[in-house]
């Protein structure tokens, strides 16, 4: 049985640790502190926690002001509301003046499940990635999430970290060091490479095993640092394996798949197949049903790998 751990639990715990070691760390939330786990911080540091009510735009602006006043604000809510409702506040009040604000959003992607498309975020990576100066991180598991949060606190400048509602199978046994702009090669392959982020990193590892049974050798890269992207790792994969499948719990438009395709097409064109949420609104349902519908399963990724290989042969 795979060990499952919650990214948001690890966020909550890590934020408390950071709060203990640095009194300038503060947290804000928009009436979802139980869900995002900033409630843990609120309990220990009530004076340094600001519940802003259901007002995401004001939260981002207030966080920017706290940063201008020397604090290190962590602002949390669901991914769709953080990046959608407050996109322009993030762009104008946070990223443009390089405010030291950390946006840590939970409930990214479709594993949000039953709440339905109104609460599923398939656009957040795209929205954040297009903002100059924004660092965008999508951790593969709870351990990587915890270290990304620690890194964000030590880095000066705006950061977006995307977490999820659901627990993820762990990819890393325990401590995992996050390095911005660097990916983690989890498996070397010869025929193609999966470049994945979030829970799809684990799914890609499962797909790799399926493909190995058919004699196909796939590499797997955990690309938690989506911006800045580890371009060298992407290009090495393109050169060494000649085909790439990107995998993410995000729209095929504008996310990791786009970032990889942009790099590959400009610097070393090889086939890139993007596995992700199709360009549509899905449905309510269990996370499993939704991931199945989006073909974000080991079998779905293995199918993408075969398509990539067919394209590679045609070249």
């Amino acid at each position: 049985m795979t060990n499952m751990l919650s990214l948001r639990d690890f966020y909550g715990k890590t934020l408390v640790e950071l709060g203990r070691s640095n009194k300038d760390v503060v947290a804000l939330d928009c009436d979802l502190s139980g869900s995002t786990r900033t409630s843990m911080f609120a309990k220990e540091f009530p004076d340094r926690f600001f519940n802003m009510g259901v007002a995401e735009q004001d939260m981002m602006g207030t966080a920017a002001g706290l940063a201008a006043g020397g604090k290190i604000p962590f602002a949390s809510t669901f991914a769709i509301f953080a990046t959608g409702r407050a996109w322009e506040q993030i762009r104008q009040s946070i990223a443009y003046p390089d405010a030291n604000v950390k946006i840590v959003a939970s409930h990214g992607g479709i594993t949000v499940g039953q709440d339905g498309p109104s609460h599923q975020a398939g656009e957040d990576i795209s929205l954040m990635r297009s903002i100059p100066g924004m660092t965008v991180i999508v951790p593969a598991d709870a351990h990587e999430a915890a270290d990304a949060v620690r890194w964000a606190a030590s880095h000066v400048g705006p950061v977006y970290i995307r977490l999820t509602r659901d627990k993820f199978p762990v990819v890393y046994d325990e401590k995992k060091t996050f390095a911005v702009g660097k990916s983690t090669s989890l498996k070397k392959g010869k025929d193609l490479t999966f470049v994945a982020c979030g829970m799809l990193t684990y799914v890609a590892l499962e797909a790799e095993k399926m493909l190995a049974n058919d004699g196909i050798s796939a590499g797997v890269i955990d690309m938690a640092s989506i911006k800045p992207l580890d371009e060298q790792a992407v290009l090495d994969a393109a050169v060494e394996t000649g085909a790439i499948v990107t995998a993410e719990e995000h729209s095929i438009i504008g996310g990791l798949g786009s970032a990889v395709a942009e790099t590959v097409s400009e610097k070393h064109p090889v086939p890139v197949i993007r596995a992700g949420i199709p360009d549509t609104y899905l449905s309510s349902g269990t996370p499993e049903e939704l991931m199945e519908a989006a073909h974000l399963t080991p079998k779905g990724l293995a199918d993408c790998a075969r398509r990539a290989l067919a394209l590679k042969k045609k070249k």
């Binding site: 602006g61 207030t62 201008a68 006043g69 020397g70």
Partner: protein
Amino acid sequence: MKKTDNVSELAEIARQIRINVLKMIHLAASGHPGGSLSAVEILVSLYFSKMNHSPSHSKTDKRDKFVLSKGHGAPVLYSVLAKCGYFPEEELWTLRKFNSTLSGHPYAPSTPGVEITTGSLGQGLSQANGLALAGRLNKDDSIVYCLMGDGETQEGQIWEAAMTASHYKLGTMVAFIDNNELQIDGFVRDIMGIEPIAKKWEAFGWHVQEIDGHDFGAISSAIEKAKAEKERPSLIKCRTVKGKGVSFMENLAKWHGTAPNADELKKALAELGVA
């Protein structure tokens, strides 16, 4: 930089600020004279009389802070900052030019003295609240001043921030509305009415005063009363005239965002006593 409470000295500073506002917008051949001129007395009172601030303060020193939420008023802020010695007056003539330190709207990273980046309306009050909350955590009871346009208060985020300031009892918050009754497309009351302004802000938990925003004595005493209010944020609703000080610009929406040409500049400066 010399501070003063003397009304005629402040009026003379205001006259010089108006001259520079017009010159810089003319040289830039774009910018916002109307809403810059309506706010001159408010900013002159703050920077030359009321605020604890100095160009020698570092980013971490205790000091009062000013947020120009209506960022298109940048020319008046820049003129005042230059006169205070934050940067040389010559820089004013680079307004809006490529790679100038004076961007079309206030940009904190490039302009000394600018505390908060604005330009997209409706976002300044939230940031001012953040500064006030940071001050509270730092045991620093410096005042955070924020200037909004009346049209700007049509933005929903202003009202989110109005709730926040009162919920968190931000007694160090002193906000102004530059109530010149005009926005771009015409009169505020015709575009999207915001009255009753005072009652709305009171209902949101603010201490509200209404004054003549061109009267230094009134501005000064309203600020003192606002500072004495420790439990509630304060709003000072300033009746102002858009384009104040230049007869042909006054009360005309047209001068919201139009630069004076050479003739117009000459006429305007003559009215301000420039031979």
